[in-house]
């Protein structure tokens, strides 16, 4: 009986199509209502940390941030902040860890949206912001094609 049901479920999943399944999983996110995004950047942790640890500069990296107050700060390793006033996210943090195989630094950002329903839209913005940050550090420029709006 159990096997039959598994088979039926498997067939259903197969019909839905691998792409659809993967997309739905991506949209559901990894961890409830929090936004979690990670990028590997071919640069030392100290350089990433230097760009992030100034509270004045943070909103220029993550566009959905306004004024922030740093609540924890460990040099070259992690920073945590709290949003000041009413803004789309209540709090957030970033960690910098050495990537395996000499591939630079793994950057992981966590943000807590004020309204859970806004998570998807905010997550897309944050992903785009982090991609731009990576491109600026690695390639000196953000990719532009002159036709599509990308920010």
């Amino acid at each position: 009986m159990r096997t039959m049901r598994s088979a039926a479920i498997l067939t259903g999943v197969g019909l839905l199509g691998a792409g659809g399944v993967m997309m739905v999983r991506a949209m559901r996110g990894r961890n409830g209502s929090r936004i979690e995004k990670a990028f590997t950047i071919e640069r030392p942790a100290a350089e990433l940390y230097a760009a992030w640890h100034d509270p004045e500069q943070l909103p220029s990296i993550i566009s959905i941030l306004d004024r922030v107050e740093i609540v924890a700060d460990e040099a070259d390793r992690s920073i945590a902040w709290r949003g000041v006033g009413c803004q789309p996210t209540k709090a957030g943090s970033v960690t910098f860890t050495r990537a395996p195989g000499d591939r630079g630094t793994e950057l992981r950002v966590t943000l807590e949206p004020r309204r859970p329903s806004a998570r998807l839209a905010l997550a897309a913005r944050v992903e785009n912001d982090l991609r731009r940050f990576k491109a600026k550090l690695e390639a000196g420029d953000v990719a532009l094609n002159g036709t599509d709006v990308t920010s």
Binding site: M23, E127, A135, E138, A139, A143, N145, G146, T150
Partner: protein, 393 residues
Amino acid sequence: MKAVTFAGTGKVRTQIVPDPEILTPHDAILRVTSTAICGSDLHMYAGFVPTVEKGDVFGHEFMGEVVEVGSAVTTLKVGDRVLVPFTIACGNCHQCKSGRTSLCDNTNPNAWMADLAIGYTCSGLYGYSHAFGGYPGGQAEYVRIAWADANAFIVPEDLDDEQVLFLTDIFPTGYQAAEQAGIEAGDVVAIWGCGPVGWFAIKSAYLLGAERVIAIDRIPDRLQRAKAAGADVIDFERVDVVETLKYETAGRGPDRAVDCVGMEAHSHAIDALADRTKQRLKLTFDRAHVLRQAIYSVGKGGTVSVPGVYVGFVDAFPMGMVVNKGLTIKSGQTHVHRYVRPLMERVRRGEIDPRAVITHRFDLDDAARAYAMFATKTDGCEKVVFHPGLVLA
């Protein structure tokens, strides 16, 4: 300026569009002196590549003269004659530093689209859909080059445009196809598709030590050209490919199989008819008859190399054959940058003359006719080159 743009399924037109501009300090602008239509342009022309929009400028094989450079460009100056790989590299990410420039992390402005479609984006490409970058292509009088220092290769004066133009794509593509097949001295290599990429793959297989190449197509001109390149040929409309390969290799099967056809395979086999129907109904992206046949035909422990373009999902993929015959499958967009200089040297030494694949030269104004002829292979049209700004006799 004049440019060749997509005008709906089966249509392109030559129209006036705004001149390209420097958008970042790392850019350069080229006056295009030579550009070609690639077989892969036909997949867009036929409407099979998602996120191609009307008005998009086509063209990813081009070269020209630098007419403007951004303030951060250090290795180029106005007047330099350069060729430009179709895959755009930033030169600094982990993939670029590892020589896998077609997998660059940073050059696709629409990376989110490609992330959604394939998991992780590949590099931006010129003139090849918005999901792959949305960069205007080079079938035009001028084109903007992104990250010019990493992407423009100076062409020495003793080599003319048509000798080096195909270093932008199809020569490295055919070469990488043969190289990633892992060809060893004494190998028998089967190559499906004898268009220009197939021709370069045949030549490259021999350069890499293959003892015998068997090439498969149905178009007489192509088979003739493959023969001239040293291959034995199979006309798949006349004989059974699988049986013939088995017989020709005395029961071993070819050591390496190369699919230079991709998603628009032609065949009358049952799987191919099913693919064609599903593709028309938009139920599948890719007609993978050649890929299935290559996997079935290749000998035990062999390698299947896939330079042919596939965009989405392949139905009825024969995984059991892959497992039980112990096959290796290699694919990828071409890491053009790593091949430009070594292959340019081979051209200069006379080991290969890429001009052999050119069958037609058109004025940019006649692009609609050129595409129509190329798509239908009318008049033996296999490779079209434009020389914008040059009046053809």
